[in-house]
């Protein structure tokens, strides 16, 4: 009897090969693999959404919950039905309230998270970089903390896009901001360079993993 692992391995091998064929150029094999992937993914995601989101949070309480739970869940049930109206172009307006609730709650959560999770802590960390009690040497605090501070400030200035119009009619940032932004551009370039190296490392690791899979499939790898 053919095991699931073998079937999985064969399918994975062929799908990987079909995708790798894109290195030669776009071809039907690549397209077939991609379309199958999208279809399977969508079907799987829909099943997951139903069983791991809608069922435990909505349907199961409606069936087995208390009266109060059922009454309270009537509202999200109606909202969900309205949201499903988004599928129909004629009834898409009915889904607007549901989307509004989603967006409203999401905005509030994003605001709270950004303020409490990033803004205050990161600003505090930038300030605390000069705390001599937390660093090994004052020189490190001054040099490294100063560089970090400069990097933060200049990076923020780099994304400051307010500008004025010059005499020639061109749009340009103000002189001091322009200088600061140039320094910020250097920091941004360094950061993106580090990120690029990380992305390439991730892609390279994925390639290695696929090659390793091929080797395992053919009994070549370890």
């Amino acid at each position: 009897m053919i095991s699931l692992d073998l079937i999985s391995g064969i399918l994975a091998f062929f799908f990987s090969l079909m995708i790798l064929s894109y290195l030669i150029g776009d071809n039907p094999l690549f397209r077939i693999a991609v379309y199958i992937f999208v279809g399977v993914s969508a079907g799987y995601v829909a099943a997951v959404a139903f069983w791991q989101a809608i069922w435990p949070d909505l349907i199961q309480p409606l069936i087995y919950g208390t009266t109060l739970q059922r009454a309270l869940l009537a509202i999200p049930l109606v909202l969900s039905v309205l949201l499903l109206m988004k599928i129909s172009p004629q009834l898409t307006r009915l889904g607007t309230p549901s989307m509004a609730i989603l967006v409203g709650i999401g905005s509030a959560v994003a605001i709270g998270g950004a303020v409490t999770g990033t803004l205050f802590p990161q600003i505090s960390a930038t300030i605390n970089a000069f705390d001599l009690s937390k660093v090994a040497s004052p020189i490190d605090a001054i040099v490294n903390g100063g560089l970090i501070l400069v990097g933060v400030v200049t990076t923020l200035a780099y994304f400051h896009f307010s500008a004025g119009t010059t005499a020639e009619g061109s749009v340009k940032r103000f002189g001091l901001i322009e200088i600061i932004a140039f320094v910020g551009g250097i920091f941004v370039a360094i950061t993106l360079g580090v990120l690029f190296a990380g992305v390439y490392s991730a892609a390279l690791t994925a390639l290695i993993e696929r090659l390793h899979f091929f080797g395992t499939f053919f009994g070549l790898g370890n």
Partner: protein, 839 residues
């Protein structure tokens, strides 16, 4: 100045001092002298005009506005004189029409007439059509019950169908070039000049469409010309027509003219604009000619203020009360206005003013009847020949032809001379087109009967004129007209006066065309100057460059790029495949363990044995290889050392499946059992909202596990009700957003529980600030980060060691290719730039 002057029409050589051609009676001398104000300068009113006329302001060209300003200044000088004249007339002084235009505001847009709306394209509130139409019709026709002529019917029918007035006219005579015909007729009648001691009227460059915008200049000229020698016209000095100031001023400056059979219309209810009342005040006494079988004028028509001013400026006018005399008005030649006593219509003020200040010859009355049947706008109807020089109605020579009219150089007079305005067949010209009320009224008042057209008017022709482009754009109906049948001669460029700079706007020969029953249609060609053509060519060039297809890259370039990609692919696949398949372990793992990785290991070691730990699997299948290699080392260490109770959750739909894969493959050595040692809570939807909800109340957010079991009562989650009950939160993610979400949304609820991030190398650098701020206690990023953890596992075999050679080789290949290829491409790029700079 030459001793002789050559007639531009017939070529006959005439003495230089002759005003008309001895052969064809064409006008040879310009009319600019009197029009310039030598006799009677323009004296527009100073009081702001009423709304009815001020909406014309937006379409005025700049030069016209400037001219208006000049007119205001000159009017101030004459103000004292005008005030005295106003005392003699009961109609108060009305504001200048153009002053009203200047003071136009948005609310005045509501009163924009249909024709103006159609011309300008500016949407305006619709006028009250029903009463307005009736009044307009009266003003146009000068009848209470307009004669059922064919042209009248043609005017009526479109009105009933709700069409704009000018459209109605167009429908009635669709093939007519109304403006051209009107000018032709107007000039023809003026050329006759039997009763009017004035010169033949040159043509108007843009008759009705440009009326609004040309008001300042040509009215100024008209005023001056009125003072010189206007033909007798029928006026209604006591008419209620409201005349704008500018027409009042015209009248006020006009000297007394010959009073010949002028019929005053004291009981007229026509509303005259203020500026026309001013004209009435200052106008001399005019006798209205007895009506000659003319239809009765509907006195219900509302007249704009400026027409009333015309009446107000007019002097006493004799008006036969028993006859229905059409009010023949001319906005410039005020004596032309004639109105019956029983006129009830509300005529625009400016028309009334024109009436009052004009003299109407008795011969003009029959002409007004013809005008009345044409459905003309009021002022144009009154513009029709109030003078005793009715022109032939069949003059059809185009004024608007593309060819240059053969106007003499001396014909640089104003287009709006009284002759042109008073031409008897102006009504015919405008029969197919409705003009603004004030223009129609003016035409109607000064229109003599067709039967009295002097023979001299026959065959007169208006020389083709060249319209400014903005005027052409405003013409509503003639765009699709065919080419003129008879080519027009070139016209001279006007050197002075308000028409300075325009070419061929004044007719050289008022009547040189054989009358025909069917007016000819004339098209307007774009007559661009050389500069305009050059600019157009430049624009065309620019557009051509924009729309030109971008040339495809040379096939060699595309091929080389493809070859480069193939080469890179081959290098990576061959080299890395060889390393992977060769099971080499040549490259040592890095000895240096990053600080954040060391912190992560310390945090793991600090977790109590058997404590609940939340593991978040938030990575995509695309990075499963890297994440399993990176995470397995730390998780192996954790499971091996601390035997935690794991709770797995994921905000990715595939996260639960990847977690199972991780536990069954990457951590197969640990042999963790689901349900007893770990639970899978499954998919947590909602992104950051779901994470926040989970942080606030994990049991409410995910009441069931991935297998739909009550996981919160299971062994791994015993005693866990809040997020802070977990001994640690380990987030395995390949996304900055996902990791940031968990950091941000759980910051307040995590309490003392440490958070450790195991991330892909692509997201690791962005988590370093959170490590630095202490929000996460440790970070394992990528293979290089996991290498330190794996080394700390005491030689436990892991993915890192398995991948490391290939990883190092791949990184070094990338470094080499980027450096070499980058330098090579940098040189090529610089060379290309130099080449471009050299070009």
């Amino acid at each position: 100045m030459a001793e002789t002057i050559k007639c531009p029409v017939c070529g006959e050589v005439n003495p230089a001092d002759v005003e008309f051609c001895q052969n064809c009676q064409s006008r040879l001398q310009p009319l600019t002298g009197p029009l310039k104000g030598e006799d009677a300068p323009l004296t527009p009113g100073q009081v702001p005009t009423k709304k009815t006329t001020s909406e014309l302001e937006p379409i005025l060209p700049q030069w016209l506005r400037e001219a208006r300003q000049q007119a205001r200044q000159s009017a101030e000088e004459e103000e004292t004189k005008k005030e005295e004249e106003q005392k003699t007339t009961p109609i108060p002084r009305a504001p200048d029409l153009l002053a009203g235009l200047a003071s136009q505001n948005e609310t005045e847009d509501e009163e924009t007439p249909d024709w103006l709306t159609n011309i300008t394209g500016i949407p305006s509130k619709r006028k009250k059509i029903e009463p307005e139409d009736a009044q307009v019709k009266f003003v146009e026709l000068r009848h209470e019950e307009p004669a059922e002529t064919s042209s009248d019917q043609a005017t009526k029918e479109p009105e009933q169908s709700g069409l704009p007035a000018w459209m109605a006219g167009q429908e009635a005579a669709p093939e007519k070039d109304e403006l051209a015909e009107w000018f032709a007729q107007a000039s023809g009648s003026a050329a006759d000049g039997s009763a009017a001691p004035v010169q033949p009227a040159p043509s108007q460059p843009e008759p009705s469409q440009s009326l609004d915008s040309n008001v300042a200049d040509w009215l100024k000229d008209l005023d001056e010309h009125t003072a010189s020698a206007l033909a007798p016209a029928q006026t209604a000095p006591s008419s209620d027509i409201e005349t704008p100031d500018w027409l009042k001023n015209l009248d006020s400056s006009a000297p007394p003219v010959e009073q010949k059979d002028v019929e005053p219309a004291p009981s007229s209810n026509v509303e005259i604009p203020d500026w026309l009342k001013d004209l009435d005040k200052s106008a001399p006494v005019i006798e209205k000619a007895p009506a000659q079988s003319q239809p009765e004028i509907s006195s219900k028509v509302e007249t704009p203020d400026w027409l009333k001013n015309l009446d107000a400026n007019a002097t006493t006018i004799e008006q036969p009360s028993a006859q229905n005399v059409p009010v023949e008005r001319h906005p410039v030649e005020t004596p032309l206005i004639r109105e019956t006593a029983e006129t009830k219509s509300e005529i625009p003020d400016r028309l009334q003013a024109a009436d009052a200040s004009s003299e109407t010859p008795p011969e003009a009355k029959p002409e007004s009847e013809e005008a009345a049947s044409t459905g003309l706008p009021d002022w144009l109807a009154s513009l029709k020949p109030g003078e005793s020089q009715p022109s032939e109605s069949n003059q059809s020579e185009s004024v608007f032809t593309s060819e240059e009219p053969a106007a003499p150089e001396s014909s640089d007079a104003s287009a709006f001379t009284r002759e042109s305005l008073l031409s008897s067949d102006a009504g015919d010209v405008f029969g197919a087109m409705e003009l603004p009320d004030w223009l129609t009224s003016a035409a109607a008042t000064g229109q003599p009967s067709a039967g009295e057209n002097p023979p001299s008017a026959a065959g007169e022709e208006i020389a083709p004129a060249e319209l400014p482009s903005w005027v052409r754009a405003m013409r509503p109906v003639e765009a699709a007209m065919p080419e003129p049948s008879a080519p027009a001669s070139e016209g001279a460029v006007e050197s002075s006066g308000p028409l300075a700079g325009l070419q061929g706007v004044l007719p050289a020969i008022p009547g040189a065309v054989v009358p025909s029953s069917k007016p000819k249609s004339h098209s307007i060609k774009l007559n661009a100057t050389a500069e305009q053509q050059a600019q157009a060519a430049l624009l065309e060039k620019i557009l051509g460059a924009e729309t030109a297809p971008i040339p495809m890259k040379a096939s060699s370039v595309v091929t080389s790029q493809r070859v480069l990609r193939w080469a890179l692919s081959a290098i990576l696949l061959i080299v890395l495949g060889g390393v992977v398949f060769g099971r080499t372990q040549i490259f040592p793992l890095p000895s240096q363990v990053p600080n954040e990785t060391s912190a992560a290991m310390r945090a793991v070691s600090a977790i109590p044995d058997g404590a609940p730990v939340l593991a978040v699997f938030d990575y995509q299948p695309s990075t499963v290889g890297e994440m399993e290699a990176t995470g397995s080392s730390l998780m192996n260490q954790l499971l091996l050392l601390k035997h935690p109770r794991l709770a797995i959750v994921s905000t990715s739909p595939t996260g639960a499946a990847l977690a199972e894969r991780f536990m069954s493959d990457a951590l197969a050595a640990r042999n963790y059992q689901r349900g007893t040692q770990y639970v899978d809570l499954g998919y947590l939807p909602g992104g950051l909202t779901g994470v926040y909800a989970f942080a606030q109340n994990p049991m409410a957010a995910m009441p069931l596990g991935a297998d739909r079991s009550a996981v919160w009562q299971s062994a791994p989650l015993q005693g866990v009700t809040h997020l802070s009950d977990f001994a640690a939160v380990i987030v395995l993610t390949d996304s900055v957003d996902s990791g940031r979400t968990w950091i941000e949304q759980t910051a307040l609820e995590r309490g003392a529980s440490p958070m450790i991030i195991v991330s892909s190398a692509q997201a690791g650098p962005m988590f370093l600030p959170y490590v630095d701020s202490g929000q996460i206690v440790g970070l394992v990023s990528g293979l290089s980060g996991a290498a330190g953890v794996e080394q700390a596992n005491g030689g436990l075999p892991g993915f890192v060691r398995r991948y490391w050679d290939a990883y190092s080789v791949g990184s070094l290949i990338a470094v080499a290719l980027i450096v070499l290829g980058g330098l090579w491409n940098l040189i090529l790029g610089l060379q290309a730039r130099r080449a471009q700079g050299t070009r």
